[in-house]
């Protein structure tokens, strides 16, 4: 069975370029289930890009084929990746909200001669798994490390870290801790809490007892961030002057209306805010809001998908529609462009996106909605996580 499958992969890989009028792109992401909102954002970013740039590259029509993996499920992700390559004959794979899902597909790429453009999954190591992986999102190292510098600048000396106990949480903790210690700061305690935690009062008590000036926190975006931020306020930490610092996952725009006043003044570092002030972003947000339907649901994965499409269009242009993964990936190494999030480029070494990381403060816009207001910029940040892993 396995040999049949492999030879099928090889056969498709060899004759893939023969019928190149329609180029298919397979996108895997959570389009139903608890994370459906993130999949919706992928789709909004892709739709926005195609609405603004057309659905043709040269003479080739572009067709997107979506496949749904509702929760992190590497086996299913791999099966769907295989199906897309073998049965649908896709020339490009893209999407991937969760790291394990992206990791599971990387072994297929070389044999299938297919590049993979990661639109969200944020663990540093993914790009090292195959030379055909390019990433247009961010890593937690990239978004968390600048926060340590912010803390230092603001005169914070002692920090306690509180993260959800899973891959990205541990990454985020490591990034902050390493950078903050290098800056001469002190980490008084590091707490890892289970993902299923919903009452954060005891954690806040620990924070209070630790005597730290600030708490660095990471939780995945979604329902639990609400409880966390509320517990931070309700247990009197805000009034006690203990700063809450976090990467932008905690204040993603689709959660902000629910967080409301309790998040006002919170500091986060992240690669993209929907309120980013640039002509490129205005065009993007207008198109993406139209694509997603409800403007309140737009969030950061949309920009990863939008830029992912930009990279894929460039790949198709460079290969003229022929299936040649190496040529496609080589064409985008070092590529630089103006993204809705600001100036970005693909690092030729790591194939990860180099971008500005912004310090943002949750603020109220003139129309009464809540935004992540950018107040400082860390320019051209690479991924420190890859260096740290070596």
């Amino acid at each position: 069975m396995k040999t049949i499958l492999l030879s099928a992969v090889a056969a498709v890989a060899l004759c893939g370029s023969a019928y190149a009028d329609t180029i298919k792109i397979g996108v895997i992401g959570p389009f139903s289930g608890p994370f459906a909102i993130q999949g919706k954002n992928f789709k909004a970013g892709i739709d926005a890009y195609m609405a603004l740039n057309g659905n043709k590259v040269g003479d080739n029509d572009i067709e997107i084929i979506y496949r749904d993996v509702p929760q992190a499920d590497p086996a299913q992700s791999k099966a769907l990746g295989q199906e897309l390559v073998v049965k649908e004959g896709v020339q490009y794979l893209a999407g991937f909200y969760f790291t394990p899902d992206a990791m599971a597909v990387t072994p297929l790429l070389e044999q299938a001669n297919v590049p993979l453009v990661v639109m969200n999954a944020a663990t540093s190591a993914i790009v090292t798994k195959s030379p055909y992986v390019v990433r247009t999102s961010f890593t937690l190292w990239q978004t968390s490390a600048p926060m340590a510098k912010v803390a230092k600048e603001r005169g914070v000396k002692k920090v306690i870290t509180v993260v959800s106990d899973y891959g990205p949480g541990v990454d985020s903790e490591a990034a902050f801790t390493t950078t903050f210690k290098a800056e001469g700061g002190e980490i008084v305690d590091s707490i890892r809490m289970p993902l299923s935690t919903n009452d954060f009062s005891p954690i806040m008590q620990r924070v209070k007892d630790s005597g730290a000036d600030a708490v660095f926190a990471f939780l995945p975006s979604g329902p639990t961030t609400l409880g966390f931020v509320k517990a931070y306020n309700d247990n009197g930490l805000k009034d006690a002057g203990i700063q809450l610092l976090a990467p932008g996952d905690l204040t993603q725009e689709s959660d902000l209306p629910a967080l409301g006043d309790s998040a006002l003044g919170m500091l986060t570092t992240f690669h993209y805010a929907i309120s980013h002030d640039s002509p490129e972003n205005k065009i993007f947000v207008e198109a993406a809001r139209k694509a997603i339907g409800n403007p309140a649901e737009l969030s950061f994965p949309s920009v990863g998908a939008y830029d992912g499409m930009h990279v894929i269009y460039k790949m198709i242009e460079a290969t003229g529609g022929e299936q040649d993964a190496q040529k496609a990936v080589d064409a985008v190494k070092g590529m630089a462009w103006e993204s809705p999030r600001g100036p970005v480029s693909i690092d030729p070494e790591t194939r990860h996106i180099t971008q500005n990381i912004y310090l943002r403060e949750v603020a109220k816009a003139e129309d009464g909605s809540y935004i992540n207001k950018e107040i400082a910029t860390f320019e051209k940040q690479g991924d420190p996580g890859l260096a740290a892993a070596k």
């Binding site: 608890p34 919903n198 005891p202 979604g222 329902p223 959660d255």
Partner: protein, 287 residues
């Protein structure tokens, strides 16, 4: 010492929130003998209605709660009439399949109608922000949740143990045929207690919304927690559920304060121990 009090207060508050959310399920499972996995779905419907009433229609918190409880009961009437009535007395597996099916339908509908974003129920100023207890500050809404728990426990105990309706309910549950032949209209008794259980679910969903925020997957996300409370306390026993919530709340909160990296280890260890020692739950009746 201050820390001990402080963690104790957190434990009490968390336990009471658990109690308010789970007690409706204890009633359906223990008194009506229905393994109702759709309990969370009803709690979620209550939360959505309250959120809608408060945000879109501009009602106050108290009115929103009343509307939500009434609205959820109203929605549950056709579900009770056409679906639940078929599974009273049916094997547990049938009940589980039916109610989990209802849960998935409700999740889908909620996702379609309200979207996947988090919904909040704005608290009145009185319940907002921290209250100073002297040795620490605590969220005002947690005090409110504790009060709600006490009131609900008292009222339910009175209803089931001290009123004529309670007598009829217990009779119908123990022997429906005999109760019927003695003139108890068991259908009505079941319909009313089902409404009470659903109303409690909705009320719990609203009061607990600060801790367990309302979103479409609410119905599944917390299902295990509800079931654990009921099985540890003993299905149908109000004091049992209360005791279970306080014990589990204390263990969970203390564990999370002292060794958060162990996660839910101590919580489930306690559950396993209790279920081994008391197969019918802490205060459950022998079957």
């Amino acid at each position: 010492m201050q820390t001990v009090f402080s963690v104790g207060t957190d434990a009490l508050a968390y336990g009471m929130v658990l109690f308010v959310i789970s007690i409706g399920l204890s009633v359906t499972m223990g008194l009506m003998r229905v393994v109702n996995l759709a309990h969370g779905a009803f709690a979620m419907i209550g939360g959505y209605i309250a959120s809608y009433a408060a945000h879109m229609l501009g009602f106050g918190y108290a009115v929103a709660i009343l509307l939500a409880v009434a609205g959820t009961i109203l929605i549950s009437i056709p579900i009770e009439r056409f679906l639940f009535r078929r599974i009273y007395g049916a094997p547990e597996l049938t009940q589980v399949l039916m109610t989990i099916g209802i849960t998935f339908c409700v999740i889908g509908i909620a996702n379609y109608v309200f979207g996947p974003t988090l919904k909040t129920i704005p608290l009145p100023d009185m319940l907002r922000g921290p209250v100073d207890l002297g040795y620490r500050s605590i969220a005002a809404h947690k005090l409110f949740a504790i009060a709600c728990g006490v009131v609900v426990a008292g009222a339910l105990w009175f209803l089931i143990d001290r009123t004529a309706f309670g007598v009829k309910l217990r009779a119908s549950v123990d022997n429906a045929a005999m109760a019927g032949s003695l003139g108890v209209r068991t259908r009505i008794v079941y319909a009313v207690s089902s409404a009470v259980a659903v109303g409690l679910a909705a009320f719990g969903g609203i009061v607990g919304a600060e801790l367990l925020p309302i979103e479409p997957y609410y119905a599944l996300r917390y299902m295990v927690t509800f079931l654990v409370v009921v099985s540890v306390g003993g299905a149908g026993s109000i004091p049992g559920a209360l005791l279970a919530c306080l014990v589990l709340g204390a263990i969970d909160t203390t564990g999370r304060y002292l060794v958060p990296e162990y996660g839910e280890f101590f919580f489930y260890l306690a559950v396993i121990t209790i279920v081994c020692l008391f197969p019918n739950g802490l205060l459950g009746r022998k079957r």
